[in-house]
């Protein structure tokens, strides 16, 4: 009986071609972590990408090695929107544990592909269900229990491909790419995907409206995660000392970097390394090594996340006060404390901005895209050496661990900036060296590197009070002189850090939006929603660094209201902007999203509309 109705419904849908939803939907695959689903998800995502359709992929995973629920969301968007889409259009329910909940979370009319034994069609009747005997099908490909589970995941790729009109040839290509070095595994997986495809062709008449059609919007593009992009930036920035302590979600940054360095930074003739990588005993040591190396002249970096940032606070102060370069990548996750280690957040901004005790403030770079992850990694080393201070680059789990589409990264067009370092020859010429003297009036003193063969080169670095000659001093004048100069140096940095990106809608725009980091994509899409659905124009300022390299006071003054969008509870950037903007703080409102799931456009739009209504 059911099949007759299904067929009739499918015929009806098929005749209404105008109702197809083409290249504009989200797929969510619910699986168990450690089941190889990551590979299948990547294949599915790449297949769509290879058909020229803009995609983004987000992995929602537990802090666990195997056996807990995990979700992967793929968004196809002909408009190129790559933020998370709030609603799921197409669910693949592979995990018995969460299937019920997954199905209940869907909007009416959504699609659910599920393992037949789960009987999900009994839960709701307002969805379009496709029942697939995944377990039985994988038993046809292999008898091995473990392999069966892995292949079941590749079978769904075939099923989904067929249902969404993704070309099987693209799926094959994506699988071969994924198993580049293992042709046997590639064959087996292709077989599994084909099996799923054929099953769907024979048994699952199309009853939903979603489909993929070939476009030409991904030609020449790359897909990369933010951590890898940062790793590339470091490798091409000429990093020489890398230290790290494993922590989610930053581990893959240094792991990927280690691979790139081994491949591209080993002297071909001698087989010797032009870099050192150390897995430290903890984040304190990791940062200590960075500062030791930076002090001695290396381009040094470490990567971490919230708990590591907390541990680094003491050294951050030393680096700031003793003026030692170093780069710290903070791939933010949900805090406080251990928090949600595998969920995303922008909750470290405020603590990083002032990390350490006493009067401390840091240069912070905030990339929003994988391109900026790459570029800002390069910039960070130049800034650290130019300003002789730790520079923090704040990414987050969403940006760092998820896959993003991007244009290929450009080769750096500038030589590296090693800052004000005096050589023996220069010392000889000048005949004088005072480590902490502001001789150029920009707050940045000159330094020498240990090993410089000149009698004037040596100086004593310390985290305790010191005068311009780097002698120990507890004198009030010396202390004030020093911290005031550090402040001046920070002011100088304003002009050097990346300026915000303004997208203006002309002088009559009443509303301003300020956002940063990975929130950018939801904001850009929300702007389009506000315009299309509510005829509201907005100016948008995307902040990219601290200190602010922009007249924020003016931006606030020129708008009736300014919404600051961020992924934390307390409006951390809003606090910083209120400090900066001064008088007009009542105009500043917050749009906050702090669920651990990446922010989406709908949330931004709704929160802005609600606050506009409430006045």
């Amino acid at each position: 009986m059911a099949s007759t109705i299904e067929t009739a419904y499918a015929d009806e849908i098929a005749t209404k071609k105008q109702e197809w939803v083409v290249n504009d939907f989200s797929i969510q695959v619910a699986t168990v972590n450690g089941s190889g689903s990551q590979t299948s998800n990547t294949v599915l995502m790449r297949s769509i990408f290879q058909m020229g359709v803009p995609v983004s992929g987000k992995n929602l995973f537990p802090s666990n090695i195997a056996g807990l629920p995990t979700w992967f969301t793929i968004r196809a968007s002909k408009h190129g929107w790559i933020a998370r889409k709030k609603d799921i259009d197409f669910l693949v329910a592979m995990n018995p544990e969460t299937a019920g909940e997954d199905v209940l979370g869907l909007e009416p009319g959504a699609v659910a592909v599920y393992e037949e034994t789960l009987k999900l069609d009994q839960i709701r009747n307002d969805l379009i269900f496709y029942r697939v005997p995944f377990a039985k099908l994988s038993a046809e490909v292999t008898k091995e229990a473990k392999l069966k589970r892995l292949l079941a995941n590749m079978i769904y790729v075939g099923v989904v491909a067929q249902l969404l009109s993704i070309e099987m040839e693209e799926v094959r290509k994506a699988i071969s790419r994924q198993f580049k070095s293992k042709p046997k595994a590639a064959d087996l997986n292709i077989k599994a995907a084909e099996l799923g495809f054929e099953y769907a062709e024979k048994n699952l008449p199309k009853r939903d409206r979603f489909r993929v059609e070939r476009m030409n919007k991904t030609a020449g593009k790359i897909i990369i995660d933010g951590n890898s992009a940062m790793a590339l930036g470091c490798a091409f920035a000429g990093v020489t000392v890398v230290t790290w302590y494993p922590i989610t979600p930053s581990s893959s940054l240094c792991e990927t970097l280690t691979e790139y360095l081994a491949q591209y930074r080993t002297d071909k003739k001698t087989g010797k390394a032009t870099y050192a990588v150390v897995q430290a005993e903890d984040e304190l040591a990791a940062f200590g090594m960075v500062l030791g190396a930076g002090w001695a002249g290396a381009r040094a970096m470490t990567s971490t996340s919230g708990p590591g940032i907390s541990l680094m606070a003491e050294f951050a102060g030393l680096g700031y006060f003793a003026e030692i370069p170093g780069v710290v990548f903070d791939v933010q996750r949900v805090g406080p404390s251990t928090g949600l280690p595998t969920r995303t957040s922008q909750g470290d901004i405020l603590s990083v901005a002032f990390l350490s005790h006493g009067d401390t403030k840091h240069i912070v770079l905030i990339p929003a895209s994988v391109e900026e992850c790459y570029q800002m990694a390069i910039d960070a080393f130049d800034l650290a050496e130019r300003f002789q201070t730790p520079v923090f680059v704040c990414s987050d789990l969403d940006l760092g661990m998820n896959n993003w589409m991007a244009d290929p990264f450009p080769y750096p067009d500038k030589p590296i900036d090693r800052g004000k370092v005096m050589t023996a020859e220069q010392l000889e010429k000048v005949g004088k060296f005072e480590r902490y003297r502001d001789s150029d009036g920009d707050g940045i003193p000159y330094r020498t590197l240990p090993g410089t063969p000149h009698r004037l080169a040596a100086y004593f670095t310390r985290g305790s009070g010191h005068n311009e000659k780097s002698e120990y001093s507890e004198r009030s004048e010396d202390y004030k002189n020093l911290v005031d100069r550090l402040s001046k140096k920070y002011e100088t940095a304003r002009k050097f850090v990346p300026a915000p990106v303004l997208s203006s809608n002309g002088s009559n725009c009443r509303l301003g939006i300020i956002a940063y980091g990975s929130s950018h994509w939801a904001v850009a899409e929300s702007q389009a929603q506000l315009r299309a659905e509510h005829d509201i124009d907005t100016d948008y300022l995307r902040v990219r660094a601290l200190p602010f390299n922009y007249d924020l006071k003016n931006f606030v003054r020129n708008h009736e209201r300014v919404y600051i969008v961020e992924q934390n509870r307390d409006g951390q950037m809003a606090s910083l902007i209120k400090l900066e903007a001064g008088g007009d703080t009542e105009k500043i409102r917050s749009v906050l999203h702090y669920t651990g799931i990446p922010i989406d456009a709908r949330t931004v739009t709704e929160q802005i509309l609600r606050q506009e209504r409430e006045g």
């Binding site: 000429g238 002297d267 090594m289 002249g297 030589p415 040596a458």
Partner: protein, 346 residues
């Protein structure tokens, strides 16, 4: 004032007088063992004729960690944060493996707040000399116990330390340190020999130097000196009070023991290792330390050495030139490397 030829100072093999190896005036208490160690450091570098620009002095926080300012005034110095000198030193040596690193630390800096970093420095065998100026007490914060304080020793307020002392030398041997020695601040002859040996060793060279605190080292009988001071000084500022003592020196032969009376009247027994001690035997070294502990003696001398060990920097197989000064073309891969990576990501 013109200098007569005969008054010209003696110079070392690179033509420098010993005065050139001095640092700023010490601000430590008069008679502090740490100053005696500084003197031997000055002498060792002078006698070895080491160019100071090749030297980095590193320290943490505490009385001991102040001392690098008081020697080798023409070497770069880095006085970091409490207990974290090992990581800074590791970073320095990675950046420039041609440098000679001398770390000076205390028992609080190493055995308490910095024990984690100490452990991993020893384990990595980072090429550096690591001197612990060990007085068993927190001086700068006015006399609290450290983790190397002997069990039963009494603090100024009369409280006995209930916990056993950490033996940094024994720990270091177990952790893989390749040069482990102990000495006494007042034994210049032994100390300079150990320092010179350490400077010629490639790998971590640990020297644990018993360095009496003239102000706060209060053992069971030590109230004597404190009381003495109380009776003789008026007015007494308990916190700031610093008695004057001469530095304690000893001179004794290998294989013998000597009792040393410290400033506070307490005594420690130093036992010099026999000439026939085989410092290449790890188990032998640990056994001797255990025996000395049982006899309440501090074993001094070169306790353990592994001249074949591979230091951490060598392990990383770095290019010969220091990483710190590699030119752009050595540290930035060419454009075709990026193109290749981009192609793979398409």
């Amino acid at each position: 004032m013109p200098t007569l030829e005969k008054d010209k100072p003696k110079t070392n093999r690179i033509g420098l007088p010993i005065a050139d190896y001095k640092g700023a005036e010490s601000t430590l208490c008069n008679g502090c063992g740490h100053d005696a160690i500084s003197s031997q450091i000055i002498k060792a570098f002078y006698e070895l004729g080491i160019e100071q620009h090749r030297v980095v002095k590193l320290s943490g926080i505490g009385c001991s960690s102040k001392s690098p300012a008081y020697f080798l005034g023409h070497a770069h110095g880095f006085n970091g944060v409490h207990g974290r000198m090992p990581s800074v030193a590791t970073g320095v040596m990675l950046a420039n493996q041609r440098l000679i690193a001398l770390g000076v630390t205390g028992d609080g800096d190493t055995a308490s707040i910095g024990i984690g970093q100490f452990v991993h420095l020893m384990r990595r065998n980072v090429p550096m000399v690591y001197v612990i100026e060990n007085n068993g007490v927190y001086g700068l914060t006015k006399g609290q116990f450290s983790a190397t304080s002997e069990r039963g020793s009494k603090s100024k307020s009369g409280v006995a330390n209930p916990l056993p002392a950490i033996d940094c030398c024994q720990m270091a041997i177990e952790l893989g340190c390749s040069y482990v020695a102990r000495s006494f601040a007042g034994d210049p002859k032994q100390l300079i020999a150990l320092l010179k040996g350490a400077l010629s060793h490639r790998g971590t060279a640990l020297i644990d130097v018993i360095s009496p605190c003239v102000t706060f080292n209060n053992h069971p009988d030590s109230t004597k000196s404190y009381d003495w001071a109380k009776e003789h000084e008026e007015p007494l500022h308990e916190i700031g009070f610093v008695p004057y003592f001469d530095q304690i020196t000893v001179d004794y032969d290998e294989g013998t023991a000597t009792d040393v009376t410290l400033h506070d009247g307490s005594r420690i027994r130093l036992k010099k290792l026999d000439r026939d001690h085989d410092p290449m035997s790890r188990t032998g070294a640990i056994r001797m330390l255990e025996e000395a502990r049982a006899n309440s003696e501090f074993l001094t001398g070169l306790i353990y050495i592994d001249p074949t060990s591979i230091d951490f920097v060598s392990l990383l197989n770095l290019v010969d030139e220091p990483l710190a000064t590699l030119p752009l073309e050595k540290v930035r891969p060419p454009k075709d490397a990026l193109d290749e990576i981009m192609q793979e990501l398409r």
